[in-house]
């Protein structure tokens, strides 16, 4: 048998082909082309100030997109992040203001009665994690599809936020709180640093830990993962906790940036965030995708929107363009997969 093994040819199928290379780096190429295009059309685009602006704008979407990547890798979806963000942001704001009674007192930056930003941030994240955990339980214990659970969550958490706030915004925090959204370290806005930091942590988690491998396994083939001894339900539950965590963190940063929280915050975020993840090459069917892709996808959407604004394209047209790009990204992904299958 040894001879048979030695004689048999090594499979010839995997070779470096230009098509595959292009397909793999398509989001990066698209981003580069877009940036070159905008910088030719509009000189204001390629300035450090504008670019940091873009990054600051996308960093909250980016945080949410990191969490969403975990969920989509397991072939799930989380539509509730925008609503969780609103509720978590309000809770953080109320904590910072020192209670419900003070919530409408427009602060002058010295709201001495409230808790510090640390407590507010923990409260926001706590709300997010709890919301994610409840949804994860519904998905894993009661076998309700993620789409349905988080669609319900999208409505329920928004309602909770409206109920909690009584409708109005909660604004005016102390300087230390606001620094997390508006501050800078050197030339770099703080939200951008938070985004980059968590992107790195998420990348390490997905690529270099057992937990990361397990997420890919569960997304790639849940039955095979179960028969390989993985606790599939626990892993699925965990990714909704992760999206909840990032919704809470995003809520804190957004409240800090706007120096205000309100119940309608984050409306429609799920669309932009899912778009970023998908454009970054993560498959909605689970099992393939990277944080790097998600970061590129997030920046790409940010650059696109910023460029369109600079070119005076109306906000309505922007929405149409974003919608088309989502569909095209998935169409491209499907095309690449079908090519690969034939080859």
């Amino acid at each position: 048998m040894a001879q048979v093994a030695a004689e048999a040819p090594v499979p010839k199928r995997q070779q470096i082909r230009p098509f595959n290379v292009v397909a793999r780096f398509a989001p990066v190429l698209f981003l580069v082309v877009l940036m070159i295009g905008f910088s030719i059309l509009e000189p204001r685009f390629l300035t450090p100030l504008n670019l940091f602006n873009v990054l600051r704008q996308v960093s909250i979407y980016g945080l949410l997109a990191i969490g969403m990547t975990f969920v989509i890798l397991t072939a799930g979806i989380d539509l509730s992040i925008g609503s969780i963000l609103a509720l978590a942001g309000l809770v953080a704001a109320v904590v910072a203001k020192g209670g419900l009674d003070n919530r409408f007192s427009v602060g002058d930056g010295s709201a001495a009665t409230g808790f510090g930003w640390e407590v507010a941030a923990l409260a926001a994240i706590g709300v997010g994690v709890a919301a994610g955990f409840v949804q994860g339980l519904a998905i894993t214990r009661f076998k309700v599809p993620p789409f349905v659970v988080t669609l319900g969550g999208m409505s329920a958490f928004r309602g909770a936020a409206l109920l909690f706030s009584g409708g109005g915004p909660v604004s005016g925090f102390d300087e230390a709180f606001v620094w997390w959204g508006q501050g800078k370290l050197g030339p770099v806005p703080v939200p951008v640093l938070i985004f980059v930091l968590f992107a790195i942590i998420a990348h390490i988690t997905l690529s270099y830990t057992r937990y990361g491998r397990q997420i890919y396994a569960v997304g790639g083939n849940p039955e095979a993962a179960r028969l390989a001894g993985l606790n599939v339900q626990k892993i699925i539950l965990s990714v909704y906790v992760i999206t909840g965590f990032f919704a809470g963190l995003g809520a804190f940063v957004l409240a800090a940036r706007l120096n205000s929280a309100e119940a309608v915050a984050g409306t429609g975020f799920e669309l932009t965030v899912i778009a970023s993840v998908v454009i970054g090459g993560t498959s909605l069917f689970g099992g393939t995708g990277t944080i790097f892709g998600t970061v590129i996808g997030t920046v790409l959407i940010g650059v696109l929107l910023n460029g369109l604004v600079l070119l005076d394209v109306s906000a309505y047209v922007q929405q149409i363009i974003i919608g088309m790009i989502i569909v095209l990204a998935v169409a491209f992904d499907t095309f690449v997969k079908s090519r690969r299958r034939i080859l």
């Binding site: 499979p11 270099y208 491998r213 890919y216 396994a217």
Partner: protein, 508 residues
């Protein structure tokens, strides 16, 4: 050869510069059952895709009844009388048998379906293929074999002259295979031709008239089945001499029982959808022994394996590993106690097809390749992979290669390696060589021998009697959820096993 129905000449096809077919010929006579043979990757699928209109050739021509034919789509081929029944059946689960047969061609006037005629005509076709069911039953309520009959009925409804069947027997029990072959023989009498793809060469000898063999994308030979032998076919397929199936050399089984199963029982339909009932299943496996479980599809052999492994629940009974009781509620429980399971459907149940060899191989043995219990130690992982690559002779480019690019045999080796890396006490292998070509089959068998000789207790479940006979030390037979017999492999022969698998044990 009778009057030629189909002639494919010099068919050539390449994908992105890699040639898949080089000047391949295929000739099929009218009323002929023609076997298309070759190892996986020999080019059979590509040739059939061209014939069924799913792909077009770069060069070469197709002649149908003496006239040149060009198929630009599967519809073209169907209109010309070529129907294809794929291995993965393509019925719409939520539609009735009758609707599936006439899908897209429902009888009626204008846009309205004539339900009476639909059901009547379906009934006629169903009786032709021996499917005795109400045509209004939904496809999802049929067994795989019955669904296949519906597909054949659909092919007949299109007045096909040539029916292509891609591994039609892979998921069938022996009785179902017999029924299928009766139908195919009936086609021959009516002048209908069949192209038959299979890995089971005994079936070729049984039902086919002529054969064509491909190897590495090239035509090797064609001939009459009556003038050849299985050994000769295998020689042409692999291009080298190997014996049909190697017997296990000098079994080294000891007396120490590793796995004992006592009175394992489960009611029908408990928890699972269609899971077979199990009645007082008892068996034991010793260290270094290979126990074969022979049984038809639906005899409860896979269900037994899954229950022992904790993949499905059971109602009563006891499982002991090294004399200590095990009551698994999940595969994790069983794995922790040293049991591994190579499931019957590699692609659906074992592999992460779109992912790397690395991710697939170490998924169960992460403890062995992790640092601080959290991080993956890719160095340790590389060492592990290259160790098993050598040990199992896995033909691969590197740890990052995507598993779906490997041949079936090498995929199966990845799954075996996954369990070996855990150092199991018991390895249950369900259909070890399904969909694997002949050369790789012998290799997988040898690997099982090697594993047994290192002291692993191995349970092999197989639909192929020659395989069970060749690789087992001891064989138990199952039928309808019961163990019906136990024999030493040396004392067994196919006839007696088949009798134990098919005849009511209580009456016998």
């Amino acid at each position: 050869m009778r009057q030629p129905l189909l002639q494919m000449n010099g068919i050539t096809k390449s994908f992105g510069g890699i040639s898949a077919l080089r000047a391949v010929d295929l000739r099929v006579g009218a009323g002929e059952v023609h076997a298309l043979l070759g190892e996986n990757g020999a080019g059979k699928s590509t040739l059939l895709k061209i014939l069924s209109g799913a792909q077009s050739p770069d060069a070469g021509e197709i002649n149908l009844l003496g006239a040149k034919a060009t198929f630009n789509s599967p519809q073209d081929a169907q209109r010309s009388g070529i129907a294809t029944i794929y291995q993965e059946l393509t019925l719409v689960p939520g539609m009735s048998i009758a609707e599936n047969i006439f899908l897209g061609r429902e009888p009626g006037r204008a846009s309205f379906v004539d339900w009476g005629r639909l059901v009547d005509e379906a009934q006629g076709l169903m009786s032709k293929v021996g499917l005795e069911k109400n045509p209004r039953i939904l496809a999802r309520d049929l067994s795989v074999a019955e669904q296949q009959l519906v597909e054949i009925a659909r092919a007949l409804s299109m007045r096909s002259k040539l029916i292509i069947m891609d591994e039609p027997t892979a998921a069938l029990s022996n009785a179902e295979v017999d029924r299928l072959f009766d139908i195919v023989s009936g086609f021959r009498d009516e002048g209908l031709s069949v192209i038959f793809v299979t890995h089971r060469l005994e079936e070729v000898m049984r039902v086919c008239d002529r054969f064509t063999i491909l190897r590495d994308g090239a035509f090797v030979c064609e001939g009459d089945v009556a003038d050849t032998s299985i050994d000769a076919i295998i020689r042409h397929m692999v291009g080298r001499e190997i014996t049909a199936m190697q017997r296990r050399p000098a079994p080294a089984a000891t007396e120490r029982v590793v796995l004992r199963v006592e009175n394992l029982s489960r009611r029908r339909g408990a928890e699972g959808l269609n899971a077979m009932a199990l009645h007082d299943v008892c068996f034991e496996v010793r260290r270094g022994e290979i126990l074969g479980i022979a049984g038809l599809v639906g005899s409860g052999r896979t269900e037994t394996a899954r229950a022992v492994f904790g993949a499905d629940p059971f109602d009563s009974g006891n499982i002991f590993i090294d004399g200590v009781s095990l009551r698994p509620t999940s595969p994790q429980d069983a794995i922790r106690r040293g049991i591994g399971l190579v499931p019957e459907d590699r692609k659906q149940q074992a592999l992460f097809l779109s992912q790397s060899i690395r991710a697939n191989l170490t998924v169960a043995a992460q403890d062995r390749v992790s640092r601080l219990g959290v991080f993956i130690d890719s160095g340790a992982e590389d060492t592990l992979i290259s160790e098993y690559r050598k040990l199992l002779r896995i033909r691969m480019l590197g740890p990052e290669q995507i598993v779906s690019d490997l041949s079936g045999g090498n995929q199966q080796k990845i799954v075996l390696a996954r369990w070996l890396a855990l150092g199991p006490k018991v390895l249950i292998v369900d259909e070890p060589t399904r969909g694997i070509d002949v050369g790789a089959k012998a290799e997988v068998h040898n690997l099982l021998f090697q594993m047994a000789s290192t002291g692993i207790a191995i349970v092999v479940i197989s639909s192929e009697l020659p395989e069970v006979l060749a690789i087992s030390d001891r064989i138990i037979t199952m039928r309808e959820g019961r163990v019906t017999g136990e024999v030493q492999a040396d004392d067994a022969n196919p006839e007696m096993l088949m009798a134990l698998m098919t005849v009511d044990a209580v009456a016998a």
